[in-house]
């Protein structure tokens, strides 16, 4: 499997507080990778370092080339970041949100893709004139995911998609992620507190602890390891 994204000793800080102390990880083409860990372990910061929403040091390469450091440029490199907690434009309509997902694209297939993402989330088509802010939490999370897909990403960064959602909605969300990966070969780097849900779709996973990679392995290994389960995954 070819490496799509590679982080090498990435550090990041918020003011005086260092959040990442040299995180190294890779995501292969068409691979789903999970990043697990407790609150404050640096999961979200890892994604933010990639998308350029926090300044970082260390190298990040996309297909062997250095990744730009500003969010606008990272979006243009076709990395879609679905941030934590309802990442939608609440005052805009569903369709406007989706169109913004395709903002960096110059091709003429945006319309066709509006129909394509609606196959994953059929309700989107009926509600395209509705304001995003009037959707339920789960629907907004799905809209955020659909919007990311509109950019035809090479890599999808998913931050805590399950946060505050009902278990049924979480299952639906991860079903779609798996489908996208299997049918379209979409590479995904997913950050989750809900380790069980994340490991069910990922092939490999990293466990972060205070800004460092404490453990790495295949998802099956991590799931099977009793002590890992108890100390890191909490189930």
């Amino acid at each position: 499997m070819r490496t799509l994204l590679e982080l090498d000793r990435v550090e990041a800080r918020y003011g005086p507080v260092q959040a990442l102390h040299g995180v190294s990880l890779t995501v292969g083409e068409g691979e789903v990778v999970a990043v697990l860990g407790a609150n404050g372990a640096g999961k979200t910061t890892t994604l933010r370092a990639i998308s350029g929403t926090v300044s970082r040091s260390g190298t990040i390469e996309l297909e062997g080339k250095p990744l730009p450091r500003s969010p606008e440029a990272v979006a243009r490199a076709r990395i879609a970041h679905v941030p934590e907690g309802r990442g939608t434009f609440v005052d805009l309509t569903v369709e406007e949100n989706l169109r913004l997902g395709a903002y960096v694209r110059r091709d003429r297939e945006v319309k066709a893709d509006l129909a394509r993402v609606a196959t994953y989330f059929p309700w989107l088509a009926e509600r395209r004139r509705q304001r995003a802010g009037t959707l339920s939490g789960g629907e907004q999370q799905m809209l955020a995911l659909a919007r990311a897909l509109m950019g035809r990403p090479r890599l999808l960064l998913l931050d805590e998609p399950s946060l505050g959602l009902a278990p049924l909605v979480v299952r639906e969300l991860f079903r779609v992620v798996r489908e996208l990966n299997e049918q379209e070969g979409l590479a995904v780097l997913v950050v989750e507190q809900d380790a069980r849900a994340a490991l069910s779709v990922s092939s490999r996973a990293y466990v972060l602890e205070v800004g460092r990679v404490a453990l790495a392995g295949t998802s099956a290994e991590l799931r099977g390891n009793e002590s890992v389960r108890r100390s890191y995954l909490g189930y």
Binding site: P71, A75, D91, L92, E96, L100
Partner: protein, 304 residues
């Protein structure tokens, strides 16, 4: 007698809509910047004054045809607005709102000083884009001046609305107003969008200035009172609502004119022209106390 009173009344309404249209343009400029940059641009009035002086210079000093000077001024104002954001606002944008506010106040003083230095404090006469004819519309005397002002104001509002609602740039501009962080994540170059907003605001101000100057005379304080009216209009409509700015502007223009008109009758005879500006300030005060979100906006809710 009654018909004459009605004609008089309607005349006041029309000229109220005309001055209200100008308030609306300037209020819209304030709203556009407030939505994106999050501050009241106190230099909005002076920027418009400067634009108007540029129009006057092109027309009177360089002998340009007025109809060439008008769009040229719009273009220069747009460029000036964009440059103002890039050079003056952007460096302080990451700081507190107060810093940006202080910078806009500094800009107000600097532009005012520049205008007096360059063109002296003496008033100049700028021609009007419209003839000074008066039409008789069903017994109501309506000046072409007023009708033209209303038409231009509404036309510009509609154009802007089309731009915001139906173009990709417009969508990006709205996305930035809703959530700049998120907008960057989808690849919108937020900083340029903010600059674009400043460009549009400067252009709106230029139109307001060029429509106002012919009737009141062009002097360095041209827009100072107008900015208060515009602020009142924006607050009345809702400081984040473009529709509110337009409705607020028109409503304020009509209300103030009707107060002047009614002052010939008992109970209203206390009102005089000198009270127009205090009345606008009263509107600001009452709206902020009673309905802080204005007619069309919603009060800001801060997530903590």
């Amino acid at each position: 007698m009654l018909a004459a009173a009605f004609a008089d009344f309607m005349q006041q309404v029309v000229s109220g809509l005309a001055s209200g249209g100008i308030y609306a343009l300037l209020a819209l400029a304030l709203v556009i910047i407030h939505r994106s940059t999050g501050v009241i641009n106190f230099a909005q009035g002076e920027m418009a004054t400067l634009s108007t002086y540029i129009a006057w210079t092109l027309w009177a000093n360089h002998g340009w045809n007025y109809w060439l000077a008008f769009p040229a001024t719009l273009a220069l104002s747009f460029a000036g607005g964009v440059a103002t954001h890039r050079i003056v606002i952007r460096p302080v944008e990451r700081g507190s709102v107060l810093r940006i506010v202080i910078v806009t106040i500094g800009l107000l003083i600097a532009i005012n000083g520049f205008v007096i230095w360059q063109w002296s404090g003496e008033p100049h006469q700028l021609r009007s884009p419209f003839p000074s004819d008066v039409l008789d519309v069903g017994g109501v005397a309506v000046s072409v001046q007023d009708l033209g002002t209303i038409a231009v104001a509404l036309g510009i509002v509609v154009l802007l609305w089309l731009l915001f609602q139906f173009t990709k740039v417009g969508l990006a501009l709205r996305a930035v107003a809703v959530n700049p962080e998120e907008a960057r994540l989808v690849g919108v170059r937020v900083s340029w969008m903010l600059a674009l907003g400043w460009g549009f605001a400067a252009m709106l101000g230029a139109v307001a200035g060029m429509l106002t100057a012919p009737s009141v005379g062009l002097d360095p304080n041209l827009m100072q009172a107008l900015l208060i009216y515009a602020f009142a209009a924006a607050v009345l409509g809702g400081i984040n609502s473009p529709v509110g700015a337009v409705v607020g502007g028109l409503a304020l223009g009509v209300i103030l004119n009707l107060l002047s008109y009614l002052s010939q009758y008992r109970f209203f005879d206390w009102f005089s022209e000198e009270l127009r500006l205090p009345a606008a300030l009263l509107v600001i005060l009452v709206v902020l106390l009673v309905r802080p979100g204005g007619l069309f906006g919603h009060a800001e809710v801060k997530r903590v």
